[in-house]
């Protein structure tokens, strides 16, 4: 079956033209998803997925209208799926069956995608290792002593191991790009507003964005094109069109790319080497590469943790044991129902962030933390807007370190988000792109960032680098 599950979306479409049925494709992926030795899945929708595949087989003559016809995919378990468990990897929502589909799920369904399951993650997306969830940690398939990355760790591992053809994740501070990096797949967080957040269970609303994890850059462009567009259910969604697949073959002649000194300086030696190699490849392919300094970036991490914790404490106030989600059995008083449901329903990392959010929003701290963080956000956004007047892309690491050892938790991990939170604080699009493995066979990646709604630049550079790496241009 691996001749099916190792294929990209483009290759699967070609196999379909040669007679492979949607059912055969779905069966191959579901088999892997059900075996799942890496705890990547919380739910596998076996029967429903097979029925959907059979239904698609019956309308095969119309397949050109469906760019993802019969392609099995997984969605992170914080994206609502009607009648299918959506738990956010939390005891709080362990039995939650949404009554509607997220807009992203509807778009993929309309494009012909087959949902085969919901993937494991850090609880409510709060974490960088996919080990804070109620259903246990996700295991890195390359080395089980190392972190799978988070919070969309299940989505990244499922793509990397052939347990789905592509996956949806969500990225609040790097949660698509970091696990993509640790598992050797392509991860894209588009511009804030590109994909409707309707049905994405909120962590930090001004930072959250649905993203895409795929085997290669072409698949990423194919899937993202299906997800973009204005949605009446999300007032922050954008009408801007995204012509991505078409842009892939345009090359990078004349494109201007810069390496951010502050981020390469803090990276380990192997990561620095991969950035140097990528820069050389870009020059060889006709782009120009320079080094720039953006000292304001050092403020980003602080602003991110203040804003994300503040928004989380507000968003997660809705879980009170009354309307939905976990409800403590002790219903003596309304107050004890609230407190016990929240205290028993949330895990340690979520509680820590909620209390941290409460701390920065408290009357005495608000201007010193929350308002200052919003001002810093304005400063960084303004700085990067200026930078992008003369540049097409920024090149930097995804994380200062190659995947870290398991068990590294809490505030210690926060510092590793320095390279990814920039795109969330500013709303910019970013891609993490595989660039080989280190001497121990652990995947290495680099990150590309572009100006708002200029995903085309990401995909042009990403595709050119991917092709050059495949061809051994190193």
């Amino acid at each position: 079956m691996s001749y099916i599950t190792k294929r990209t979306i483009t290759e699967l479409a070609s196999l379909q033209r040669d007679g492979l049925s949607c059912l055969e494709i779905a069966e191959a992926y579901i088999k892997n998803a059900q075996a799942d030795p890496y705890n990547a899945y919380i739910t596998v929708t076996g029967e429903q997925a097979l029925e959907r595949a059979m239904a698609l087989d019956r309308i095969r003559e119309d397949r050109k209208a469906f760019p993802l016809f019969g392609i099995p995919y997984a969605a992170k378990d914080n994206i609502c799926t009607k009648g299918i468990l959506t738990t956010c990897a939390s005891k709080m929502l362990a039995e939650h069956l949404p009554v509607y589909d997220a807009t992203a799920i509807r778009h993929i369904h309309s494009a012909g995608g087959v949902l085969i399951g919901k993937t494991n993650m850090d609880e409510f997306g709060m974490g960088s290792s996919s080990d804070t969830g109620y259903f246990g940690k996700v295991i890195n398939p390359f080395n089980e002593q190392r972190s799978a990355g988070g919070s969309s760790g299940g989505s990244a591992v499922a793509v990397a191991t052939g347990a789905c053809a592509f996956a949806l994740g969500s990225d609040t501070g790097g949660s698509v790009r970091l696990p993509a990096a640790f598992n050797g797949v392509v991860g894209v967080k588009p511009t804030y507003g590109r994909i409707s957040r309707y049905g994405l269970i909120a962590f930090a609303s001004s930072l959250d964005q649905i993203g895409v994890l795929t085997k290669d850059v072409t698949d990423s462009a194919t899937v993202l094109e299906q997800l973009c567009g204005k949605d009446a259910m999300d007032s922050t969604s954008s009408e801007q069109s995204a012509d991505l697949v078409h842009a892939l073959s345009q090359g990078i002649q004349g494109m201007r790319i810069a390496v951010i000194r502050e981020l390469t300086d803090i990276a380990d030696s192997q990561t620095r080497l991969s950035i140097t190699n990528a820069a050389a490849m870009i020059s060889k392919l006709g782009g120009t590469v320079e080094e720039i300094s953006v000292p304001e970036i050092s403020k980003c991490l602080w602003a991110y943790y203040v804003i994300s914790s503040a928004e989380a404490s507000s968003n997660l106030a809705r879980y009170d044991g009354v309307r939905y989600g976990y409800s403590a059995p002790d219903r003596t008083t309304l107050s004890s129902l609230y407190t016990k449901s929240r205290s028993e329903g949330f895990g340690t990392e979520v509680k820590r962030r909620l209390l941290l959010g409460g701390y920065v929003l408290s009357a005495e701290n608000r201007s010193a933390y929350y308002l200052k963080a919003l001002a810093i956000r304005n400063e960084i956004k303004s700085t990067l807007s200026r930078v992008f007047k003369d540049l097409d892309c920024l090149l930097c690491p995804v994380s200062p370190n190659i995947s870290w050892e398991c068990g590294f938790q809490g505030a210690d991990t926060y510092k590793n988000d320095i390279c990814t939170v920039i795109a969330n604080i500013t709303g910019l699009p970013a891609m993490s792109l595989p660039c080989g493995t280190d001497s121990n066979g652990v995947p290495m990646e680099l990150q590309l960032m572009a100006n708002s709604f200029n995903e085309q630049a990401l995909y042009r550079v990403g595709y050119a680098l991917e092709q050059a790496l495949k061809g051994g241009t190193r």
Binding site: G193, V322, T348, L356, L374, R377, S382, G410, A411
Partner: protein, 86 residues
Amino acid sequence: MTDQDKRLYRLTMLDPNESSHGADLSEAIDFINSYSPDTAFEPCVHISDQRNVTRQDEAHSSHLQKEILSLAPKAADDYVLVPKTV
């Protein structure tokens, strides 16, 4: 972080290693206190360039009342049930 703050957020620590959890929280607070960046900029609430996103207000029904009530831990008729407050 005082007990009053924890009450405000309706949270108590149930972790058997409550003291280490407390230490972790202090660590997180220390993390944001370890650095106090300055800026001359004004706070920015919206990162999107879109402004005044409005639409016609049209009444319609989503017919979801029954389904939504079915999610409530306790419900009767058209209401969710909570412990008596008076």
